[in-house]
């Protein structure tokens, strides 16, 4: 078993220790300063913070898209930043799903292809991709998987984005302001889909949002404070 395949199946989906980050030339203080944070397998947590507090940066650090100056991030037992280059990217593709505020679905690709693409990059064999993607979209209630996302309703687009995030059976789903561009009714529906889908897939969900109304949906809530220091409890 390679290093990238190591997973802590019985333990935390996410473990952060002493994570510190600031942009180059970004001043003396830390933008991200998380002393310790643990998210159990299948657990769901809301992380709130005002705009500009570094929520998205934290998610990118967790996903291994950025390197911290200090600290460690473990996803499913694998220290993300210990992996280099393509190995880290492959790990991200397989173990971490991401959902964005504006969905970030690819134009020119059908809903099915958007999901298949994630599976291809996540290393799922060509033979099983189409069937799995179609089934996933069916489960999420996508009526026209062969349609391009821009021809689908906003709610359906959100579901395709969720399907893509769950395509490779991730241990952790990172949702970045997933409802910020939706009206309250659609937002509620979208959050239902995200939370239920993650629950069904057994994936932990870390949702960042500045929307206080989201609080009621999560049993566990933490606040990333002031852009200088955050200490989320274990």
């Amino acid at each position: 078993m390679s290093a990238t395949d190591q997973t802590d199946t019985g333990g935390a989906a996410l473990r952060i220790e002493g994570l510190k980050f600031r942009h180059a030339g970004g001043g003396p203080g830390w933008l991200i300063d998380v002393a310790s944070l643990r998210l159990g397998a299948g657990e769901q947590m809301l992380l709130t913070a005002p705009s500009g507090a570094g929520k998205s940066t934290l998610l990118q650090l967790i996903a291994g898209l950025m390197d911290p100056q200090e600290g460690t991030v473990e996803v499913a037992g694998q220290e993300v930043h210990a992996l280099r280059g393509a190995a880290r990217d492959a790990f991200r593709g397989r173990r971490i799903g991401m959902i964005f505020q504006t969905f970030q679905l690819l134009n020119g690709f059908t809903a099915l292809e958007n999901v298949e693409l994630a599976m291809m990059l996540g290393g799922i064999g060509a033979g099983e991709r189409r069937g799995r993607a179609a089934e996933l979209l069916r489960q999420l209630g996508i009526e026209r998987p062969e349609a391009e996302p821009e021809r689908l309703s906003v709610g359906q687009q959100q579901r395709v984005a969720v399907a893509r995030a769950l395509a490779c059976g991730p241990k952790l789903v990172l949702a970045d302001e997933p409802t910020a561009s939706l009206d309250p009714e659609t937002a509620a529906g979208a959050m239902d889909v995200i939370q239920e889908s993650c629950r069904a897939a057994g994936a932990a969900l870390l949702c960042v949002s500045h929307d206080p109304a989201m609080g009621a949906r999560f049993a566990r809530r933490e606040r990333l404070g002031g852009g200088v220091r955050a200490a989320a409890g274990v």
């Binding site: 705009s51 500009g52 929520k55 998205s56 940066t57 998610l59 990118q60 996903a63 898209l65 950025m66 280059g85 393509a86 990217d89 492959a90 991200r92 593709g93 397989r94 991401m98 964005f100 505020q101 504006t102 970030q104 690819l106 134009n107 020119g108 690709f109 292809e113 298949e116 693409l117 994630a118 291809m120 990059l121 996540g122 290393g123 060509a126 991709r129 893509r164 490779c168 970045d176 302001e177």
Partner: protein, 443 residues
């Protein structure tokens, strides 16, 4: 879905830009392939086309014009020589042959070559001592005065068969010599329908300009033109047409027996092309100021030298066009990068490595080059056909273009390599695209 699917979708998403870029590369590749294939074929065709003659005598303005007109049928020779000049030349015992020819008329645009039986018996249209002579595909060589033998190209183009009758038209369509008593328009339009010819034979292809010639006897053309001239003279003098004596071989006057050239071969040792006598005969003939004396092989070398300089320039231009097409690939990809940052960021989030993203852009670039090479090869194949036909129509040059596989592969590979080089900068941009920058919504 594969990485190629991503590349294909990316190219299709920018279809107009993709098409323009591919066409730009295609034009450059076509130009290069066309020039490379035509260059060697043209050279061979010219060298082959002069046949085994050593010297050409005419009254043309220059030796090169004389060769182009009298051997390649580029235009009707502008001036004529009297037969007695030929007879004097032919007395030289150093000559293997001296064959009189006269050009100036045409059959459906194909130039006539009026000559004597020795043209078929002695002159070899393929260069070199071992070149093949004329061979018949059908029928026989000329026996009667108004027999005609068709070059292979003429028979093919017109569908004419042995035994068919045809009439020739005055003028070769270009640079028609003057006919006394007729306006140039009348002369050009004048059909010699009072003197029909019978097709006696059809030649096998020789790969030379003679394939598009219509061979008639000197006697016949003299009779036709003597008849014309005598009637014109009678009209000018106010005499009735009935008073004009019908021209025959026997009653032709010396001034009615005109030729436009003499094909000459000097005697050489068997199997040899060279002889000191060639230079001596050449120098002796040049002393006669009435004559334009050419050594066809030298004139063709001179012509090829001129063409060689031009085709080097053309090939350089084509290479520059290919390089600029590579720049257009770079620009197309560079311009698309801004729109594709989001796509690249999404691919990165989904697990694509930077190297894979780099590879995708490079593949896209290589495919543009490959498509361009394909389009170029197809265009070159079509273009070659057009150029060959046009060259044959305008100059009589029968070109058989061939392109070595190696040259084709080199040009196609060159296009792909240049396209890849053009893709490096956009690929590096893609490689360096950060997810933060790509996904602006991620704050």
């Amino acid at each position: 879905m594969t990485d190629l699917t991503l590349v294909r979708k990316s190219l299709l998403a920018r279809l107009p830009s993709t098409v323009v870029t591919v066409l730009t590369v295609g034009v450059a590749v076509a130009l290069l392939l066309l020039l490379l294939s035509m260059r060697e074929a043209g050279r061979q065709s010219f060298q082959r086309g002069t046949g085994d003659m050593h010297i050409l005598v005419s009254a043309d303005a220059s030796p090169l014009a004389s060769v182009l007109n009298s051997v390649f049928y580029a235009a009707a020779p502008a001036r004529a020589l009297r037969m007695d000049i030929y007879e004097k030349i032919a007395e030289d015992p150093r000559l293997e042959y001296a064959i009189p020819v006269q050009q100036g008329d045409n059959f459906r645009g194909f130039p006539t070559m009026a000559t004597v039986p020795a043209f078929f018996e002695k002159f070899r249209p393929e260069a070199g001592a071992n070149g093949r002579g004329f061979r018949l595909r059908a029928g026989a060589f000329m026996k009667d005065t108004f027999d005609v033998v068709l070059g292979a190209g003429v028979a093919e183009a017109t569908g004419a068969k042995v035994g068919d009758k045809l009439v020739i038209t005055h003028g070769a369509g270009r640079g028609t010599p003057k006919v006394e008593g007729m306006s140039p328009e009348e002369a050009d339009m004048h059909v010699h329908d009072e003197f029909p010819y019978v097709i006696a034979g059809i030649l096998e292809p020789t790969g030379s300009a003679h394939d598009r010639a219509v061979f008639i006897s000197l006697d016949s053309t003299w009779i036709i033109h003597a008849d014309e001239r005598r009637h014109a003279d009678a009209r000018a003098a106010g005499r009735p047409a009935e008073s004009v004596p019908e021209p025959t071989k026997e009653n032709l006057r010396p001034e009615e027996k005109l030729i436009t050239g003499v094909y000459i071969r000097v005697k050489t040792r068997e199997g040899s092309e060279g002889s000191p006598a060639i230079g001596a005969v050449f120098d002796q003939l040049r002393r006669d100021v009435r004559l334009t004396v050419a050594r066809p092989s030298r004139e063709i070398d001179r012509l090829l030298e001129i063409i060689g300089n031009i085709d080097r320039i053309l090939i350089a231009i084509a290479a520059v066009v290919l390089v600029s097409s590579a720049i257009s690939i770079a620009l197309a990809l560079y311009n698309s990068m801004e729109q594709r940052r989001r796509q690249i960021a999404v691919l990165r989030v989904l697990g694509a490595s930077k190297r894979r993203v780099f590879g995708l852009v490079m593949t896209e670039s290589a495919i543009l080059g490959l498509l361009g090479a394909g389009v170029g090869a197809a265009a070159a194949a079509l273009g070659t056909g057009v150029v060959v036909a046009e060259l044959q129509r305008r100059t009589g040059l029968v070109v058989d273009p061939t392109l070595e596989v190696r040259a084709f592969v080199a040009v196609a590979m060159g296009a792909v390599v240049l396209a890849c080089l053009a893709g490096v900068l956009p690929a590096v941009m893609a490689y360096r695209t950060t997810v933060q920058r790509g996904l602006r919504a991620v704050g």
